[in-house]
C-alpha cells in the first residue's frame, strides 16, 4: 500500500509541477527516482516533524501541494498543533501520509503504535481522513488528492494486504462504499478491517444471517447519508476499526446513530482497540487477536446482537 502510494506521488509529481514530496528521516532510497528527476521538489528534512508541517504550510500558501510521508505516530502526535493551526486553520492543501496506521509496528511497542491517529485527526476542523482498505483502493485515491481542498490525512497499512476492494464500485473521497448487501446487521468498517467483515459475512451466510457492509474509507467528513441509508432495515449496527474506540470511526458512527433515534430501536456495538496503552509486542495480527478485532469477534458480536 505504501509502495503504491509513493509511486502515485511520483506520477502526480511528473504531471503536476505543484507536487512536492517531503519525508522526515525515512527509509534510505525512498522515492529515489523522484529525487533524481525532480530534486528541487524532493525534501528529506530530518527528525523535526513539527517544523516540516510548518514548512509544508508555507509551501502550500504559495500554491504547492506538499505530500509528507513519515511514521503515523510522529506525524500525528508530535506535530498536532502544527497540523491544527498551520495546516488546518489555514485550510491548506497538504497531504499527510502516515506509515504504520494502527498496530502495524507491533514489535516496536506502544511509542510506535498509531492506535488513535484517526481520533486525533478527527477533532481537527477542515481535516479529511482516508483509510484505504488495500493497495488497489490507494491507487484510486491518490489521483483525487490533487484537487481535493484542505488538509488530508491518509492512513497506510502494513503492505501486502489482500485486495478486497472492487473496481466495479466507484471510489470517491467522502463517499462510503456499500460493499455487500445483507438484511440483518450493518457492519461499518474503515481501512484494512474491511477484509475481516467480508470474511465474517461469508461465515454468517451459512448461518442464514445477512451482513450488510459499508466501507467508510473516508472517516472525515463522514458520509452520514450513506450510513443512514445503509442502516435502514437492519436490526443492529456494528463498527469495526483498527483504532481506539475513543474518537475514531465507532465514535463518529455512534454520534450519528444516537441522534438518528431509530424506530424501532437498533442495537449498536463498537469493535476496536480499547482505551489503554498496548503493552504487548509480537505481530500486528497477534495484537489484533489480543484486542478482539478479528473475524471471530465480528461473527460472535453479530450472533449475540441478533439473538439479544
Amino acid at each position: 500500500m505504501r509502495k503504491t502510494c509513493l509511486n502515485e506521488i511520483y506520477k502526480l509529481a511528473k504531471q503536476d509541477a505543484r507536487v512536492i514530496f517531503l519525508g522526515s528521516d525515512i527509509g534510505s532510497g525512498t522515492l529515489a527516482q523522484f529525487q533524481k528527476e525532480m530534486p528541487e521538489r524532493y525534501f528529506m528534512e530530518g527528525v523535526c516533524e513539527a517544523n516540516i508541517i510548518g514548512m509544508m504550510s508555507g509551501l502550500a500558501m504559495n500554491d504547492k501541494i506538499p505530500y509528507l510521508n513519515t511514521i503515523a505516530v510522529f506525524l500525528t502526535r508530535r506535530c498536532y498543533e502544527q497540523i491544527m493551526l498551520d495546516a488546518a486553520m489555514h485550510n491548506l492543501k497538504i497531504r499527510l501520509i502516515g506509515s504504520g496506521g494502527g498496530l502495524v509496528y507491533a514489535p516496536l511497542g506502544p511509542t510506535h503504535l498509531a492506535f488513535e491517529d484517526i481520533s486525533l485527526m478527527r477533532s481537527i476542523p477542515n481535516m479529511t481522513i482516508v483509510a484505504p482498505c488495500d493497495a488497489e483502493e490507494m491507487k484510486r485515491l491518490m489521483p483525487q488528492t490533487l484537487d481535493y481542498e484542505g488538509p488530508m490525512y491518509i492512513r497506510l497499512a502494513k503492505g501486502g494486504e489482500q485486495v478486497v476492494s472492487s473496481l466495479d464500485k466507484e471510489f470517491k473521497i467522502g463517499k462510503a462504499i456499500l460493499m455487500r448487501e445483507g438484511e440483518d446487521v450493518l457492519v461499518v468498517t474503515t481501512g484494512i478491517v474491511l477484509k475481516l467483515a467480508l470474511e465474517a459475512a461469508e461465515e454468517l451466510k451459512a448461518k442464514k444471517i445477512g451482513l450488510r457492509i459499508l466501507h467508510m474509507h473516508t472517516v472525515k467528513p463522514i458520509d452520514r447519508e450513506a450510513f443512514l441509508k445503509a442502516a435502514s432495515g437492519c436490526k443492529a449496527v456494528i463498527t469495526v476499526e483498527e483504532n481506539s474506540v475513543v474518537g475514531g470511526l465507532g465514535s463518529a458512527i455512534s454520534e450519528i446513530f444516537a441522534e438518528a433515534c431509530f424506530t424501532p430501536a437498533k442495537k449498536f456495538l463498537r469493535i476496536g482497540l480499547p482505551d489503554i496503552f498496548p503493552s504487548k509486542y509480537g505481530s500486528q495480527e497477534k495484537l489484533m487477536q489480543f484486542f478482539g478485532v478479528t473475524k471471530e469477534a465480528i461473527v460472535s458480536a453479530v450472533t449475540r446482537l441478533i439473538n439479544a
Binding site: C48, N51, G54, M55, S57, L59, L85, M89
Partner: protein, 253 residues
C-alpha cells in the same frame, strides 16, 4: 485600539514599532491594492501578540480601513488579539501560538526558490518565543537550504510574560547560537530607524546564509510607566486614568 478595546499586548507591541515601521515604510515590496500579489515580499509576525503594531502599519499602508482599528477585539471585528490569515488583508499567516512562524517562513522562502521568484521573506520572533524547540528546528532547516532571501528578526526586549528572559529561560549567548546554526548574525538597536534600515535594506542578497537581525529593544518603549515592566506584557480592563497616563507619557516622550 487600546483606547477602544481597553486591552492588548501593549508592551509587546511598543517594542516592535520601529521595526514594523521600517519594514512597511522602506523595506517590504508590497501592493496594498493587491495583497496577494505573487511577487510581494512576505512578512510574518510570528510573535502574533505584537499585532497592535502590525495593524497600525496595515492601516497606514491602506491594506485595511483605519476604522477597523476602533473595533479591535469586538465580536464582529476584523482585528483580534492575534492576526488572522484570510481575514486581515496583508497578514501572511495566522499566528498567536509561538514557535510556528519561522517554519512557515522557511516553506514560503523555499516556494519562492522553486518558482525562481526574487521576493524576500521576513519573520519577526519574540525573545521568549526562542524558548520553543521548533524555532531551532526551523533555523537548522533554513540554514541547510541556504535561504539567503529569508531574514529573521528577533525582538530582544529581554522580557517575557513572567519576567526577565535571563531568569525565566536564559537564551544567551543568543548571537552565538544563531551563528552556530548557520546564520549571518547582525545586532542593532531595534529603536534606531537608521540602523534598522541599514541592516534590513542591505542588498544584494548573494550570500549563502539566511540572516538574523537581533533587535535590542525595550518592552513598552515610549510609555515610561510600561518600559521594562513585565506587567505591561498584556493588559486588560485598562481604566480611564491609565489610558490618559499612557497618552500623556507618549506625548511627552
Amino acid at each position: 485600539m487600546v483606547d477602544y478595546a481597553r486591552r492588548g499586548h501593549i508592551g509587546s507591541a511598543f517594542s516592535i514599532v520601529e521595526i514594523i515601521r521600517v519594514l512597511y515604510e522602506e523595506i517590504l515590496r508590497l501592493d496594498p491594492k493587491n495583497p496577494l500579489w505573487k511577487d510581494r515580499d512576505r512578512f510574518i509576525l510570528s510573535k502574533g501578540h505584537g499585532c497592535l503594531a502590525l495593524y497600525t502599519a496595515l492601516a497606514e499602508k491602506g491594506f485595511i480601513k483605519k476604522d477597523e482599528l476602533k473595533r479591535f477585539c469586538e465580536f464582529e471585528a476584523m482585528l483580534g488579539g492575534h492576526p488572522q490569515y484570510a481575514k486581515v488583508p496583508g497578514v501572511e499567516a495566522s499566528t498567536g501560538s509561538l514557535g510556528h512562524g519561522l517554519s512557515i517562513g522557511v516553506g514560503i522562502a523555499l516556494s519562492g526558490r522553486i518558482d525562481k521568484k526574487d521576493f524576500r521573506t521576513f519573520v519577526l520572533l519574540g525573545d521568549g518565543e526562542c524558548n520553543e524547540g521548533t524555532i531551532w528546528e526551523a533555523a537548522m532547516c533554513a540554514s541547510k537550504h541556504r535561504l539567503n532571501r529569508l531574514t529573521v528578526m528577533i525582538d530582544y526586549n529581554k522580557m517575557q510574560c513572567y519576567g526577565l528572559t535571563s531568569e525565566v529561560m536564559e537564551i544567551e549567548p543568543l548571537a552565538a547560537k544563531w551563528f552556530s546554526f548557520g546564520f549571518d548574525v547582525k545586532e542593532v538597536n531595534g529603536h534606531d530607524l537608521l540602523a534598522l534600515r541599514g541592516v534590513l535594506g542591505k542588498t544584494p542578497l548573494d550570500g549563502e546564509k539566511p540572516l538574523v537581525v537581533i533587535c535590542h529593544t525595550i518592552k513598552g518603549k515610549g510609555v515610561s510607566s510600561l518600559e521594562g515592566n513585565a506587567l505591561a506584557h498584556h493588559k486588560s480592563k485598562i481604566s480611564d486614568d491609565e489610558i490618559k497616563r499612557f497618552f500623556d507619557e507618549l506625548e511627552h516622550y
